[in-house]
Subunit: 138 residues, 2 copies
DNA sequence: AGGCTAAGTTAGACTGACTAACTATGACGA
DNA sequence: TCGTCATAGTTAGTCAGTCTAACTTAGCCT
C-alpha cells in the first residue's frame, strides 16, 4: 500500500471515528470539549493561554469554555502573583469528581466496543496508537 | 495490555485525532461536514432521510446543510416521481469539482503527515484501519 | 514617561446540532 | 371513499463551539 492509498483510507476512517466519538459523548453531563478542558487541568492549575494553545483554539474560545465550566463550579479562576495579567484556572473538587466520572463512562463505552473485536484486531489497534499519536505532531 | 487499558489509550488518542482532523479542514473552501455530505452524493442522488441517517444527524440538521450547499450551487434538489413527499439531492457539476478538489487537498495533507512517520509506523496504522472501521459498528 | 507587547475579556457572527411544531403526502381499514 | 395515522421534509427557536475585531489592563524597555 502506498502512503497515498493509506492517506485515503485514513481520511475515510477519521470520519468514522468522529461519529464514534459523538456517540461516546452522547448522554454525558458535559460536552466532549468540556471534558477535554477538565482533563488538561488534572495535573494542576493552568493559564488561559496555555489551555488555548493545547486545545488548538483561540483565546476567546477558551474564555467562553472556562466561563461555562466556572458557572456550575467545576473550575475556579485564580491569579498569578508574579504577573497580574495572567488568570489561572484550576479544578474544583466537584470538577475533579465530574472528570473522573465522565472518564469512567467513556472508557467503559470504548471497552464495550473493543470487546466486540477479536484479540487480533485489538492488538492491531494497540500497535497503531503510538504511530497515531505521532501523526500531526508537526 | 488489557482491553480496559487499550480503551484508555484509545480515548486519549481519539482526542488527538480530532485535533488533527481540525487542521486537515483548516483553510478548505467548505467545512468538513459539507465535505462529508458531498461525499455521500458522489454515487448518485439521495433522499434527505437517507443522508441524515448515514451522517447520524436529525433531519432538520440535514435540511440546513443541504440549504447551505444548494445556495452556492454545489447540490440541487429534485423530487421522486413515485412519492411526492420525497426530496432528492444530487451533486451539480460544480459540486463534484469541489468535492474532488477538497479530497485532493485532504489526502495531500495526510500523505505529508504520514511521510513523516517510519515505514513501520505507517504499516501499523494500515493494519489497524480495518479494526478501527469495525469499531462502533454496533 | 511613552510606547510597544502580552494576557484576557467582550461583542458579534457563523456553523452545526437539537427538539417542537407545522405542512403535505401516502397508506390502510371501516 | 373517507377518516385516521404514519412518513418526509421544512421552519422556528435554542444552544455549544468557534472565529475575528476591538477593548482593557498590565508588563517591559528605552
Amino acid at each position: 500500500m502506498t502512503t497515498d492509498d493509506l492517506a485515503q483510507s485514513l481520511s475515510r476512517e477519521l470520519r468514522h471515528l468522529v461519529l464514534l466519538l459523538r456517540r461516546v459523548a452522547a448522554g454525558q453531563p458535559i460536552t466532549s470539549q468540556q471534558y477535554a478542558v477538565l482533563g488538561s487541568l488534572e495535573s494542576g492549575p493552568r493559564r488561559m493561554t496555555g489551555l488555548a494553545e493545547e486545545h488548538g483554539v483561540q483565546l476567546p474560545t477558551m474564555t467562553v469554555q472556562i466561563n461555562r465550566l466556572e458557572e456550575p463550579g467545576l473550575v475556579a479562576r485564580g491569579t498569578d502573583p508574579s504577573d497580574a495579567r495572567v488568570r489561572t484556572v484550576e479544578l474544583t473538587e466537584e470538577g475533579r469528581a465530574r472528570l473522573v466520572a465522565v472518564r469512567r463512562a467513556r472508557v467503559a463505552y470504548l471497552t464495550e466496543q473493543l470487546e466486540a473485536l477479536t484479540a487480533e484486531e485489538r492488538a492491531a489497534i494497540g500497535a497503531a496508537l503510538p504511530a497515531l499519536a505521532k501523526l500531526g505532531d508537526v
